[in-house]
Symmetry: C2
Subunit: 222 residues, 2 copies
């Protein structure tokens, strides 16, 4: 059974502690505000109010014997750094920290954070990608220059089969699945395409390809 | 040229305004704190300090003629709702709002938000998915019961070809790409697999499949 410590239960820390517990992970949660601890104590293995920057407090909670410690203190950056250093002094845990901006991210990595998360920046980047390319519904990086994307099928290819389109040879695109609206409202089907599969209006194409080939496809057919 | 309005420049609003401008979108940014406006005025088309809940202020900035308005006020929920209603009263824009928790999300949807974003919840969910299934590096929903996932290739299938493994027939898994570490540090290659492709140690498999087939695969081979 995995054990994870969460220090600081703001919006991010609280949501994290709850969803980890729902995944069946043993969570030890710590926050300096007792009223916050009351909100979560029935949902996690152990919830205690105390100071996350104090090494003795962390050790007495058994945070030295967990697999991962997450420091989720944002506003008070000094407390975040001190909690980070205290977590680092505990023998094994992998330490993940939350940062408010790129400058703080850099400092936390230098202090030894294995990973730094910036929830607002990640959400902002994803939204700006979607707004700037309206036909691009989702993009996931899968390598330095490859992505998995979901795009609305452009009008120019409706009614054509994959054999006609020859997407891989002509455009370097691997069509891995098609999401197609069903006949009834709210219904949808995920189709694994073959050479004779035809592209219809309303289809969402799932592509694996180089970023430059995806950008060219979005520009040419939009 | 797309035009987007951003009301409220906290961590999320500021990062969003900046990355939209970088994508070449015309951004109109509004915040009640003049010192925040000074930070961004050289990076976006128009940045003004004023009250986002006041319909006349929004109309005078031309926010009635943009494609999308994002209300990114979190702490002061009353101001968030008022800005949301004012944005809604402007003729065309699509309105996207930021919420701090699920209760506020529900209220904002009832008030007419086309979309509601909760950066901390999204980041918390993604992290808890990764921590609870260490071999699962990334998971993207592509339908009600399908996902695109990146998983570390389990030891049990190293040295076998796709023909031997017959992943689709036996386990319902479509292997769409393999990310393979290169010979030099930091190098990697994305391989589109064929029947004779062999799975090696260190490979990351990219699968499109039903969620229940992915979960079974992770359980059986972990
Ligand atoms: N020294 C400390 N020890 C333990 N908990 C602390 C300490 N300092 C602050 N906290 C707690 O950390 C939590 C997170 O604080 P903060 O207000 O910084 O959130 P935030 O970064 O704005 O996060 P979010 O955006 O996730 O809400 C608060 O609940 C606060 O009580
Ligand atoms: N009525 C208003 N009109 C315009 N701007 C406002 C108004 N009320 C608050 N703001 C601004 O909205 C911004 C976001 O505020 P807030 O502190 O709520 O951020 P937050 O939700 O905690 O966001 P984040 O987590 O993205 O930092 C602040 O810069 C604040 O000045």
């Amino acid at each position: 059974m995995q054990k994870v410590g969460v220090i600081g239960l703001g919006r991010f820390g609280m949501a994290l502690a709850e969803s980890l517990a729902q995944e069946g992970i043993e969570v030890i949660a710590l926050d300096s505000r007792p009223e916050i601890i009351n909100q979560i104590k029935d949902k996690v293995a152990l919830a205690v109010s105390g100071d996350g920057t104090d090494l003795e407090t962390l050790r007495s909670l058994g945070l030295g014997k967990v697999d991962t410690v997450i420091v989720a203190i944002g506003e008070d950056f000094e407390a975040c750094q001190l909690a980070m250093l205290a977590a680092r002094d505990l023998e094994y845990p992998k330490v993940i920290a939350r940062a408010n901006d790129r400058v703080k991210e850099k400092i936390l990595r230098r202090l030894g954070a294995d990973e730094v998360i910036m929830p607002e920046e990640q959400a902002a980047l994803k939204l700006s990608q979607r707004l700037s390319r309206p036909t691009l519904l989702e993009a996931v990086e899968i390598g330095k220059d490859h992505s998995f994307v979901q795009v609305k099928s452009p009008r120019g290819i409706h009614g054509k089969t994959l054999l006609d389109l020859n997407l891989r040879k002509k455009l370097g695109l691997n069509l891995v699945a098609i999401k197609r609206p069903g006949t009834m409202a709210g219904e949808e089907a995920v189709v694994i395409p073959g050479p004779d599969t035809m592209v219809h209006e309303g289809d969402v194409l799932m592509l694996v390809a180089r970023d430059k080939d995806i950008d060219r496809f979005l520009r040419e057919f939009e």
